[in-house]
């Protein structure tokens, strides 16, 4: 099979291919084998009709279509590999002469390929990098959150309910003098002022004393989720049992010890500081990487075509759909609820999709230019790593070519990014780029 590559405009290429006579004969034989199993001729068992009988009964043309399909798909893929093409859509196949057994067969395929990337400067760029510092304030905030989480409700001898207290109550709700379903509870804990109830309910209890009973009149909001209650006036008979207040733990060595691992509160603060520092550094690194990649993309020139963008859009919408399905939602329902049409969603996604596409293309251009390769060992390591997070998937299932190819591609890209980062002087306070292993280990969603 011979093939010639002609470049056309708009990232399109025209492949001219010619199959030699032996290949054509071979294709005919294959087409016959395929056809013979489908055809019934009286006097012959299925699949036993000799080829000359088949051709005489149904005409020679019966094998043409299959033979052409076999030749075209084989030739087309060979040509793609030979010329290192990445098609974007389906090829347009064309041929002038009818196919004939034992004669060479010429055909052409026109297809759009990924745009060529002209890489600009991508090594030794200067990009600003934040050098994060952890302030005492950050640590304090973290500690406060922790205090809240470890807070306990304790009984209090307060005389009346105030904002921020917790009230233990029984309540019976009456709609038009009759109890309604779901309007009754015993021993219920309400945080006053937290807004967990319908407006007016919590406020109505302010000033009550333990043991006191009180009727509170409230109106359900118009958009209440139960339509038969929405907008209705109801009366709640409330009995207050007890007032509780939230007690925050004191931040001392005792508290630090109760968390395990730590001897003193100072030690614990150090740990928090370290964690925040690590987190911020990671963020800064990520931001640095993103800015760097963005700059490299800006330096390069490439043109996206509509077909390509459309394909990517479809893919990302498909991903969203899949995502929704995983959470038991339907994309159509979501669009309905947000009053968005499919076209609007596409418009919304478009800039991001274009950006991602460009980044991907530029990175793969770098991968090619730098001769970056990924070893089988690395792929396996990554696969093991991913599998940790999906205990239910077995290894064999993951070992199909498309998954491997996906892992390969993402590893290549990570290496390309690493190469960019390594060759770059970050600007800003002499920040050292942390080339931590963890970052490389990070699983990126493909």
């Amino acid at each position: 099979m011979q093939s010639n590559l002609n470049k056309l405009e708009n990232n399109r290429v025209l492949l001219e291919m010619e199959a030699d006579p032996q290949e054509v004969t071979e294709a005919f034989n294959q087409a016959y084998k395929k056809m013979v199993n489908k055809i019934n001729v009286p006097g012959f068992r299925k699949g036993k009709v000799p080829r000359f009988m088949l051709e005489k009964q149904f005409g020679k043309e019966i094998l043409y279509q299959d033979a052409i399909e076999i030749l075209v798909s084989q030739g087309y893929y060979e040509a793609l590999i030979k010329h290192k093409l990445d098609p974007v859509d389906n090829p347009k196949i064309d041929f002038e002469d009818e196919i004939e057994d034992g004669k060479a067969f010429k055909f052409t395929a026109e297809v759009e390929v990924l745009p060529e990337v002209t890489l600009g400067e991508y090594k030794g760029l200067t990009v600003e990098k934040d050098n994060p510092k952890v302030t005492d304030e950050d640590v304090d905030n973290e500690l406060k959150l922790l205090q809240e989480r470890h807070a306990e409700l304790v009984g209090s001898d307060k005389k009346i309910v105030e904002n921020g207290d917790f009230a233990i109550i029984d309540f019976d709700g009456y709609l038009d003098g009759k109890p309604f379903p779901g309007g009754t509870a015993q021993g219920y804990t309400v945080e006053i002022g937290a807004g967990g109830f319908i407006p007016g309910f919590e406020e109505g209890m302010i000033g009550m004393a333990p043991g006191e009973e009180k009727d509170v009149e409230v109106t359900f909001p118009e958009d209440y989720h139960q339509p038969d209650l929405a907008g209705k006036d109801v009366v709640f008979k409330i009995k207050l049992h007890e007032i509780k207040v939230k007690e925050l733990p004191v931040l001392d060595d005792e508290f630090a010890k109760s968390l395990g691992r730590f001897e003193s509160i100072e030690e614990y603060k150090e740990d928090i500081k370290k964690q925040i520092q690590e987190y911020k550094e990671q963020e800064a690194n990520k931001a640095f990487e993103n800015a760097l990649v963005k700059k490299v993309v800006e330096n390069s020139s490439l043109e996206l075509t509509d077909t390509l963008i459309k394909r990517e859009l479809e893919r990302s919408i498909h991903n969203i759909e899949h995502d929704f399905a995983g959470r038991g939602l339907k994309l159509e329902e979501y669009l309905d609820s947000t009053n968005q049409s499919m076209e609007e969603l596409q418009e919304e996604l478009r800039p991001r999709v274009e950006e991602n596409l460009k980044t991907d293309l530029v990175l793969s251009a770098i991968v090619e230019r730098e001769g970056i390769t990924v070893s089988e060992e690395e792929i396996n390591k990554r696969l093991e790593y991913i599998l940790q997070y999906y205990p239910s998937t077995n290894k064999e299932e993951m070992q199909n070519p498309s998954v491997i190819a996906g892992i390969n591609a993402s590893l290549e890209k990570e290496k390309a990014i690493k190469l960019l980062v390594d060759s770059t002087k970050p600007e800003g306070e002499t920040a050292e780029i942390i080339k931590d292993e963890e970052k490389v280990e990070e699983v990126k969603e493909e």
């Binding site: 006097g43 068992r45 005489k56 009964q57």
Partner: protein, 94 residues
Amino acid sequence: MEARDIIKKPIITEETTRMMGDNKYCFMVDHRANKIQIKKAIEEIFNVKVTDVNTMRVLGKIKRMGRFEGRRLSWKKAIVTLEPGSRIEFFEGV
């Protein structure tokens, strides 16, 4: 009898296609025809030389529809051997 009355139709099955490789062709013929008539008829119709004719009577199968018994038509089969170099093309011009 005319030649085309004697030779009714060729029998084409897996078995007879295999026999064509030995230059033997199989026909359904009029049950009254004898080997000599068949030979002449084949030579006339297909313009070939026949060296041998074997014939046999094929009895119609007995078929039943409930309690009624019937029989399919019986017929005569002729296997004709041609001289080396002769050939018969079926389905000419299809």
